[in-house]
């Protein structure tokens, strides 16, 4: 039996199987800063123009709060203290609705994939982040490269300054690769390489020349020294181009995520970087062991505002058809409250794809009646199927080149360009 037809339902008026579509059919009204403007969701750009912004909600984002099974009595029974008020959700259909704070997202639309997880989950943040970063669902093969890094290796030009960029100071594992340059930089580091503030142009030039010379590999270097030199070299190649980025969009929230997504758009808009993938590790903490409701509402409000700003910015730059936006987390949270008005570590969660995608609900919602032995959701969509959708359906990279287990893309999310 084809596992896709059994497990993956598309429940938003779209039949199973890859579909061809026109831009208009996925159109929606986008409330812009100057009022509501209706923009059709764009047709995907040709494959060689396609880019990805991958947003990582680290800490364990609760899928059942992000997209709420609001009509499920079992949901309310499990979560007397952390359940979202059903009257306030933005309804997607008769069963599910976006969190009340995801107001703009509900208007702009997203491909929502419920029940995303792994077959043998672990409840450790660090173990599960590692599995997501490396695209290793069971933690068995333990590749040294990251899933996004392997994609960069296939997609990118080894001569490009930065095929993948991670906008944060977290682990570099997601973009670890073997063939091309990827790097992590601070979202504020968009300018030129710093030089001493002196009127002496010759001194400034000599300073940069010295920095370049020190970045040149030395055969006697230890591994760590070589890494440090290479980092300076990569920084110089990057700043040589990033010193001339276009101005930032203006509607981003003044938050870390706002700054990250603003920089993501500016970098993607700079062809000379050769950039294909931007990884955005969200600094805010989704680990809501206590006080879940207010914390989660604030997290979603920031996400909503920043995502809307990014989509407007990509549209303004006329690159919206070439940028897929992904949102994932390492795990969801326990089905039931924990007694501290919070939720302990869980398993399956909800992931999203946005941009030139078919909006609606995908994947089979995990059952709230049939939980695992620890009271956690049983995943219905494997992490690798979500990843395969990005690799194969979006980038045209066969899933088995970058992922274990021959996963199949979730059908219907990425329209096929005719």
């Amino acid at each position: 039996m084809n596992p896709i037809s059994r497990r993956t339902l598309i429940r938003f008026g779209v039949g199973a199987g890859l579909i061809a579509m026109t831009g208009g059919s996925a159109g929606c009204a986008w409330p812009g800063p100057g009022g509501t403007l209706t923009i059709p969701a764009p047709q995907p750009a040709p494959a060689d123009r396609r880019r990805l912004v991958m947003i990582e909600l680290a800490g364990g984002c609760d899928g059942l709060s992000m997209v709420v099974p609001y009509s499920d009595d079992r949901y309310r029974a499990l979560r007397p203290a952390t359940g979202v008020d059903p009257a306030k959700v933005h309804r997607i259909d008769g069963r599910f609705g976006f969190h009340p704070s995801l107001q703009q997202l509900s208007t702009m639309g997203a491909s929502v994939v419920t029940g995303v997880g792994v077959a043998n989950p672990d409840l450790s943040h660090f173990e599960m982040l590692q599995r997501w970063w490396t695209g290793d669902p069971d933690g068995r093969t333990q590749p040294t490269t990251g899933f996004l890094g392997r994609l960069c290796d296939v997609l990118g030009d080894p001569a490009a300054p930065a095929v993948g960029v991670s906008l944060g100071f977290g682990a570099t594992q997601p973009l670890a690769c073997e063939r091309v340059s990827t790097m992590s930089i601070d979202a504020g580091a968009g300018g030129a390489f710093p030089v001493p503030e002196t009127g002496d142009d010759g001194l400034r030039a000599a300073w940069l020349a010295a920095q370049r010379a020190m970045a040149h590999p030395d055969r006697t270097d230890t591994a760590m020294l070589a890494t440090a030199r290479a980092a300076t070299g990569a920084a110089l190649r990057f700043t040589d181009i990033a010193g001339t980025l276009s101005p930032a969009g203006d509607s981003y929230p003044a938050t870390d995520l706002g700054a990250q997504l603003s920089m993501a758009a500016r970098l993607i808009d700079k062809d000379e970087l050769g950039l294909r993938i931007v990884h955005v590790p969200v600094g805010a903490d989704f680990d809501t062991h206590d006080n879940h409701l207010p914390q989660f509402a604030a997290l979603m409000a920031d996400l909503d505002e920043a995502l809307a700003a990014l989509r407007h910015d990509l549209r303004r730059r006329d690159i919206d058809s070439s940028v897929l936006i992904g949102v994932f987390t390492e795990f969801g949270r326990r089905a039931a409250d924990n007694g501290s008005s919070g939720l302990d570590h869980g398993t399956a969660s909800t992931a999203m794809l946005m941009g030139p995608t078919q909006t609606g609900l995908f994947g089979e919602p995990p059952s709230l009646n049939r939980l695992d032995g620890d009271g956690n959701l049983i995943a219905t969509v494997n992490m690798t199927e979500f990843y395969a959708t990005i690799a194969e359906a979006w980038f045209g990279v066969p899933a088995d080149v970058v992922l274990p287990g021959r996963p199949t893309p979730i059908p219907g999310i990425i329209p096929v360009v005719r």
């Binding site: 680290a58 944060g168 001194l203 300073w207 030395d218 020294l225 920084a235 007694g339 501290s340 570590h345």
Partner: protein
């Protein structure tokens, strides 16, 4: 090119980079008469520094870098050339038994935890774990506060085993549940006092790692007695100080020493610091931003904890604000391209200092001020060429930039 004296100072510099937040200008020269082993003795025997009490107020509680605040008080101690291994261990424990002001939201609690880490930094690990388990900041940070026996919050119970004492593979979800249940019943009230409420606790023994546990003290004793504990801590400390993993047989010796001493921290630290790998000259470890910034400002002769906090903000490592419960991981991300840019933003602020401007050879003087006694040929040539290109035309600006350049060398970023 390098004299025997240079090698001795290089080895001492290596020890100081790993065991303190220096070296500071002149320190290696001063210690070189005592040799490497004398320098190690000095680091190990230095008296713990005693912080000035920070100032707390309601509005300052909102900030994380006000001038009399905890973070800057701490940075001032790190910048003190009299600081020894104790100061480094306080930092190690902050990155191991993490709490963040971001969530705890009380400087009074964060500072109390800081003093707790100071007290136990070289003391007994079991005592440290007993104290930190019911520490107010930790109870807030990992949700022990308000956890009840009926509905235990699993956060602390899990991280206690996964990150603080054992590592993955030694326990299962039933153990997490048992630990969480036995740990329940603690409270932190609005006046930041910690108390235990028997009626919120469990009261029934649970089985944790094969042992019956009733309360927090039982849980701590059980994990500390577990055979996985001593090697886990020994390996993490070895990695922190040396930048590499110990050989299996060496780890076994260290763990045996640690367990055999009843989990006394000082003998373990001494065994690692006296290991020849500490000063063999291999730069296997990146300097964490806080180490890099304190040392860089020391080289520049700038005594300004506010400037240090600014640099630490862009480098992504602020005291009292670990990124998550796992603290700041070891590895190469500290020498990433993004950090090279952020570091350059500080090194361009280097001043012209007299020991460089007045030196017969400003290049060597700048390297020595930064305690780089055996620079790589590539870095030495790059800095020399810079000097030869602009030195005669603009001596003061060149001297300042020279000092900035030596601090931007990849060598200065490593330990």
């Amino acid at each position: 090119m390098v004299s025997g004296m240079g090698d001795e100072r290089a080895a001492i510099a290596q020890v100081l980079r790993r065991t303190t937040f220096g070296p500071f200008p002149g320190q290696c020269e001063h210690l070189s008469v005592r040799g490497v082993s004398g320098a190690i003795d000095a680091v190990l025997s230095a008296a713990p520094l005693i912080p000035e009490s920070p100032v707390f107020s309601a509005e300052q509680n909102e900030q994380d870098d006000y001038s009399d605040g905890p973070a800057r008080r701490w940075l001032q101690l790190m910048s003190n050339p009299g600081a020894g291994i104790h100061e480094k261990m306080v930092w190690f424990w902050h990155g191991h038994l993490t709490s963040s002001h971001d969530k705890v939201d009380s400087w009074a609690l964060m500072w109390r935890q800081h003093l707790l880490l100071r007290e136990h930094a070289l003391g007994n690990f079991r005592d440290l774990m007993h104290a930190i388990t019911v520490d107010g900041a930790m109870l807030q940070y990992l949700d022990g506060a308000d956890s009840t026996g009926d509905q235990p919050n699993e956060n602390y119970g899990r991280e206690l085993m996964e990150l603080f004492t054992l590592g993955r593979g030694h326990y299962d979800q039933a153990d997490v549940r048992a630990a969480a249940t036995a740990l329940a019943g603690w409270r932190v009230d609005d006046n930041v006092s910690v108390s235990f409420a028997q009626d919120a606790a469990n009261g029934m023994p649970r089985t944790l790692l094969g042992r019956s546990v009733l309360d927090a003290a039982d849980v701590v004793d059980t994990v500390c007695d577990h055979p996985g504990c001593a090697p886990f801590i020994a390996a993490k400390l070895y990695r922190f100080l040396t930048g590499s993993d110990p050989e299996a047989s060496h780890l076994n010796e260290l763990a045996k020493l640690f367990a055999g001493s009843g989990l006394q921290i000082r003998p373990l630290v001494e065994a690692i610091v006296r290991d020849p790998v500490m000063f063999d000259g291999t730069q296997a470890r990146s300097r964490y931003p806080v180490e890099w910034v304190v040392a860089a400002l020391g080289v520049f002769g700038i005594d300004d904890s506010g400037r240090a906090m600014d640099a630490l903000t862009t480098l992504g490592q602020k005291p009292f604000l670990p990124p998550n419960v796992a603290g700041w991981p070891p590895g190469t991300q500290w020498v990433s391209p993004g950090r090279a840019i952020a570091k350059a933003a500080l090194t361009v602020q280097a001043p012209a200092v007299r020991s460089v401007t007045e030196a017969a050879d400003p290049v060597t003087a700048a390297f020595e001020r930064a305690a780089i006694y055996t620079p790589s040929a590539t870095s030495a040539a790059a800095v020399r060429r810079f000097h030869d290109t602009v030195g005669n035309r603009n001596p003061d600006a060149t001297a300042a930039a020279l000092l900035g350049l030596v601090v931007s060398t990849p060598e200065f970023g490593l330990a």
